[in-house]
Symmetry: C2
Subunit: 426 residues, 2 copies
C-alpha cells in the first residue's frame, strides 16, 4: 500500500491497474461461458472457504467505523456475517447459472442479394465502479463484469477497504482457478481520496464509469470526468392511488413500498391520492403507515384526515428521504398525478394502483421513468427482483442502459456481415 | 437572423431552440406511428414540391463556396440537383415504410409469483447533431429523429446554411401537416460559430450529441461538452486477404472497397495480404487498383511486386486517406493481420476475404470493430445498406449504439412491471 499523499506512487498504482484491466478485458471478451461460470462458482466457493478471514477484515472496518462514530444504519450496511456471506456466495452461483450475455445474436437478417447480417452482443471493455459503504456491492459488480466478459476497477469507500480487499481476493482466486486473468477484478488498494480523481481521468482505459454514491460524488464525476457515465441518481419514487384502486391491494403495496426498507433507492417517497378515495381509502393507509412508525407529511386535505399528519412544505415534494418519512398529496385526477411526477420525480420508479386498466395503460405509457409499475411495490426496483441475478446499479439516464443494470446491460454489440464477394453498387 | 457576434441575442436564440425542442420531444415521444409516418411522407412531398426554392437556396451556398475557392470535392458534396432531391424524398418514404421503433416490446417475462415484466422501447429525447457540408445529412437526421419520436437540433456548417434552412422548412411543413410539433426538427438559424459552443453546453436540454465532422470538431466536443456523445470518428478500414482467398472475389471486393467512393468513412485504407498469396493474387489486384487511378504505398514485399508501388512510411498505417490512396502490407498469417488491425485500426469496419470458414469465424469473432465483414466490401458500412432507411451517423464507440445509427438506435427503453397487489419480501 502506498503512503497517502504520495501522488507519483499513486499514479503508478493507478496506471498499473488500468493497464492490467485493459489486458484482462481483452482476454475476458473472448472467454467461453464455461470458464466465466466456473470462475463465478469458484469465487463463491472461495468466499465461503475464506469466511473467517473475510469477517476478520470486516471487523477491522467495523472497528474503525465505530471509532469514527458511524451511525447504526451505516454500521449495518458495512457489517458482514456468515449469513450475508452465504447470500453473497449464492448470488454468485445464481449469476453463473444464467445464460451468457456475450455472443447472443440480437438480430439477424438477409438482403435479397444474399448479404447476411448479424448483430451480436460483445463485451464492453473496462468498467470503473465507485461505490460507498456496502462491501457486497464489490462482489455483485465483479460478478456482473466477469459474466459479461469485462474487466472492472472497483473503488470502495475508505470505510470498507479491508472488507472489499478480502472479498475481491476471493474473486480473483476464482478467476485464477478457472484459467481466467485475475486482473479482470481489481480494487484500488489505496484509501487515498486522490485515487477517485485519477479514476475519473482514465479515459481510454476505463470505458464506462458507474458512480454509486451521494450527490457530491455524482457532481464530481459530472464535472471532472470525460468518461461516459451510467448515473445512479436519486430515487424520488411515487405511487399514485387511483380513484378505482382496490383498498386491500393499495394498503399492502403502499406499506411495502414505503416501509420494507426505507434506505433503498426504490423506496416510495411520495404518495399521490385521487381525491375521490381520500375518505374511503386513505385513512386506513395512514393508520398502517403510522403503526409502522412512518412520519407523514401531507397537504391540507391529507392533514385534515389525521392529526398525526404534519403539513408538507414545498421541499418535501423534491426530497428523497431514504427514511421512514412519506409526503402525501391529494390530486384531482390521473393527469394531475402524472404532472406532479413529471415535475418532482427523478425518472427512477413510479407506479399506479388501480383496477382501471385504461388508467393503468395511460400511466405506464406516459410516465417517463426507468420503471413504471401497476399494482406492485416500488421496492421491486432491483436487478435481483428483475431476475438479472443482481445489479451493478440502477441507471437513471436513458443512454445505453436504463433501470437495473445486470450483466446483459454491460455489453455492446458488433455487426457481422457475410457475403460471397459482394460489392456495393452503384 | 441575429448579427454574428451578438452573444446575448445568440444565447436567447439557442435557449429558445432548446425549450421548443424539449416541448416537442415530449409530444413526439407519444406520437402514434401513423402520425410520424404521415409527417415523413408529407415532408417528402414538400421537398419535391419546393424543389425550385430549395435549389435556389442551394445555389446561394454553392456560389459562396465558389467565391471562397472551395475544392471540386467540397462543391460536389454541397451541391443539390433534381436527382438528389428525388433521392432525399424517396429516402423519407422508405423510412416512413419501416416499423415504428418506439413501443417495441424488446423483452417480456413473468415471475413464478405472477409479476409480469416488459422492456419497451421509448424515445430518447432531444438529439443535437453538428455536421458539415452535405445538406442531405440534415434531412436524414431529421427523418431518423421523427421516426424515433425525438426532437433534433441541427447545426450544419456555414457553407450549407441556406440549403439546410430550405430543406428543414419542408420537413417542418411535413410535421405540421401531420399534426405534429414542427419544432421536432429545428436548425440553428445562425452561421455564428459561437452557436456550436452553446450547443455543447446545453446539458439538460440536449440528451445526446452527435458530431459528424473533422477531428477539430470531435476534439472540441470531447473537451467542452458534458453531454453524452455518440462519436462518429475515423474509419481506418482494413481488408485482410487470406491465404485461402478466391482471387475473383478478392479483386472485386478490394477494388470496390477502395475505389467505389474514396471519401466515405467505410472506404478501405489498408490492405493486409497473407504472404502465401502475394505472388498468386496480389499482382492482379495491384493492376486493378492502378488502372482505377489508385496510388499505392506498400511495404518492401509489396514494392517488389510492382514498380508503381512506393514505399509506405509508418504514418501510412495510421492514416485515413479518404482519397484514392491505399497502403498495403504483407503479413505472415491471420494473427499478424488481426494484430495490425488492433494496433492501427479505428474499430470501425474491417473485413476478411477467404474461403476458409474457420479463419473467417476467428476473424469476425476476434476483431473488435463495429462492423466485421467476410467476403464483402467495406463500403457496405452504411445505414441505408444495412436496411435502416438511412443513418444519422456511424458510431465508433461501444456505449448505447455502435455502427450505423438508424431510428431504432435513437431509442431508450423502460420497464413496465404489472402486478396484482404484489409486494416485495422479505
Amino acid at each position: 500500500m502506498t503512503v497517502p499523499g504520495d501522488a507519483k506512487a499513486l499514479e503508478r498504482v493507478m496506471a498499473g491497474l488500468g493497464q492490467a484491466a485493459r489486458e484482462a478485458s481483452q482476454r475476458m471478451a473472448l472467454a467461453p461461458a464455461t470458464a466465466k461460470d466456473a470462475a463465478l462458482r469458484a469465487a463463491a466457493h472461495q468466499i465461503e472457504a475464506q469466511a473467517a478471514a473475510i469477517l476478520d477484515a470486516n471487523a477491522k472496518d467495523v472497528a474503525a467505523a465505530l471509532d469514527a462514530g458511524a451511525s447504526a444504519t451505516f454500521l449495518d450496511r458495512l457489517r458482514l456475517n456468515e449469513g450475508r456471506l452465504a447470500a453473497i456466495a449464492s448470488g454468485l452461483a445464481c449469476i453463473a447459472a444464467r445464460p451468457d450475455p456475450v455472443g447472443r445474436i440480437l438480430e439477424e437478417w438477409q438482403r435479397p442479394d444474399g448479404l447476411r447480417f448479424q448483430k451480436v452482443a460483445t463485451a464492453l471493455g473496462v468498467i470503473g465502479l465507485i461505490f460507498e459503504s456496502r462491501p457486497n456491492v464489490a462482489v455483485d459488480a465483479g460478478a456482473m463484469c466477469i459474466k459479461s466478459g469485462n474487466a472492472v476497477i472497483l473503488r470502495g469507500g475508505s470505510e470498507s477497504v479491508h472488507s472489499v480487499a478480502a472479498l475481491i481476493e476471493a474473486m480473483r482466486q476464482g478467476l485464477r482457478a478457472a484459467g481466467l486473468p485475475c486482473d479482470a477484478v481489481q480494487a484500488v488498494p489505496v484509501a487515498d481520496r486522490a485515487a477517485v480523481g485519477m479514476m475519473l481521468n482514465m479515459q481510454g482505459t476505463i470505458d464506462v464509469l458507474i458512480p454509486r454514491g451521494g450527490k457530491s460524488l455524482t457532481a464530481r464525476v459530472a464535472t471532472e470526468s470525460r468518461i461516459p457515465v451510467l448515473y445512479h441518481l436519486d430515487g424520488i419514487c411515487h405511487l399514485y392511488l387511483d380513484a378505482r384502486a382496490d383498498l386491500d391491494k393499495a394498503r399492502a403495496v403502499i406499506l411495502n413500498a414505503k416501509m420494507r426498507r426505507t434506505g433503498i433507492c426504490g423506496a416510495m417517497e411520495t404518495l399521490l391520492v385521487h381525491e375521490a378515495v381520500a375518505v374511503t381509502h386513505l385513512p386506513a393507509i395512514l393508520d398502517d403507515l403510522l403503526m409502522a412508525g412512518c412520519v407523514l407529511r401531507g397537504d391540507a386535505g391529507v392533514c385534515a384526515l389525521n392529526p398525526a399528519v404534519t403539513p408538507a412544505i414545498p421541499d418535501d415534494w423534491d426530497t428523497e428521504y431514504l427514511d421512514a418519512i412519506l409526503s402525501i398529496r391529494l390530486v384531482r385526477d390521473l393527469d394531475e398525478a402524472m404532472a406532479h411526477i413529471a415535475t418532482h420525480g427523478s425518472h427512477h420508479t413510479d407506479g399506479i394502483i388501480t383496477e382501471d386498466q385504461q388508467a393503468a395503460a395511460r400511466f405506464v405509457a406516459r410516465v417517463d421513468s426507468a420503471i413504471v409499475l401497476h399494482n406492485a411495490s416500488t421496492q421491486f426496483a432491483d436487478g435481483g427482483e428483475f431476475g438479472f441475478g443482481g445489479e451493478i446499479g440502477i441507471a437513471t439516464g436513458k443512454l445505453h442502459a436504463r433501470g437495473p443494470v445486470g450483466a446483459e446491460h454491460l455489453t455492446s454489440y458488433k455487426y457481422i456481415v457475410r457475403g460471397d464477394g459482394h460489392v456495393r453498387t452503384p
